[in-house]
Symmetry: C2
Subunit: 184 residues, 2 copies
């Protein structure tokens, strides 16, 4: 049997990363998030900070310059494919659901939550910023959706793109972890 891979796409502030880590812990498999960024950095020469920003978000000046962007996309894609061959794992973000879509045994998860739940969460985790949390969330979501759309030609957050989509605000983080782990 092929390696079972769980991909987690998530709205900013929905706790998708935390859910990914807890699912991986529960199942005793690795979760690639920061580690994925570092592997892409080693492969591409980009800094981890650059990758964290540009590897998932469309930028203001983004549509103007395609060479660095496509180079980073290629390095991310290659890294995600390699990781998926190494063994079962959880991969957070970075269009992994799309990149690995032909793979058997893929479980594609989407995590979302209402704006208020996410606003409270990002202030708790990342602290206050000059911009209101709702404004930060909307901008992040918009840029993430634009990135996803550009590279996958699919609509981000559409239920039909995923095996399961969960509202972490109404269901709670722990329940989401339990359901995902039970599907493994």
């Amino acid at each position: 049997m092929k390696n079972r891979i769980i991909t987690i796409s998530r709205e900013f502030g929905s706790g998708g990363r935390t859910i990914g880590k807890e699912v991986a812990n529960k199942l005793g498999i690795p979760c690639y998030d920061q580690e994925l960024i570092e592997k892409v950095a080693a492969k591409s020469g980009f800094s981890p900070e650059y990758i964290a920003e540009h590897g998932e978000y469309a930028m203001g000046s983004w549509l103007g310059s395609s060479i660095g962007r496509d180079y980073l996309w290629g390095a991310q894609k290659k890294t995600i494919c390699e990781l998926s061959e190494q063994g079962p794992c959880v991969i957070v973000g970075r269009c992994a659901d799309y990149i690995l879509r032909e793979k058997a045994n893929l479980l594609r998860v989407f995590i979302h939550a209402d704006l208020q739940t996410r606003a409270e969460r990002i202030v708790r985790i990342y602290g206050e910023r000059e911009d209101a949390p709702e404004k930060r969330l909307k901008e992040k979501d918009k840029r993430r959706a634009a990135y996803y759309r550009y590279y996958t030609d699919m609509q981000w957050g559409r239920a039909t793109n995923y095996d399961i989509a969960l509202d972490s605000g109404t269901l709670g983080i722990e329940k989401c972890v339990d359901i995902i782990a039970s599907l493994y």
Copy 2:
């Protein structure tokens, strides 16, 4: 505590109705689908056949005449609100997720599946028709989405509209039933 209500929105042929019935059986609560149509018929004077078609699908000539359409919408809405006050239940389709959105203790479910799984299913259940099953599915989905959009001003099938969205094709009907029942 308020009555716990499960609303099930579904793509045509995804098995959403079957899942709704099995969840209701498992939990020992009623599932309103055909029965809802009959209640609306008694209230409105429309025939059950007319309601089955016009109470969930935008029609070809639909945008032209709004009086009968809005009258039916009102009767459906009233019936759904009354049922939700009577006790815990499962309600399939008819924008119940939107109509009851302010209700505490609502579990909003969306069921979908890939085109091939659904095509096989509708031929198995409803038999062959002159039009290919894929064509029938696309038309049904399009008309259902248009109806939903018109009355709710929301996008049908968007993950963020639901507490949980499940792919019945990849997960299987039984697993979907188990997960939904476990959230009750």
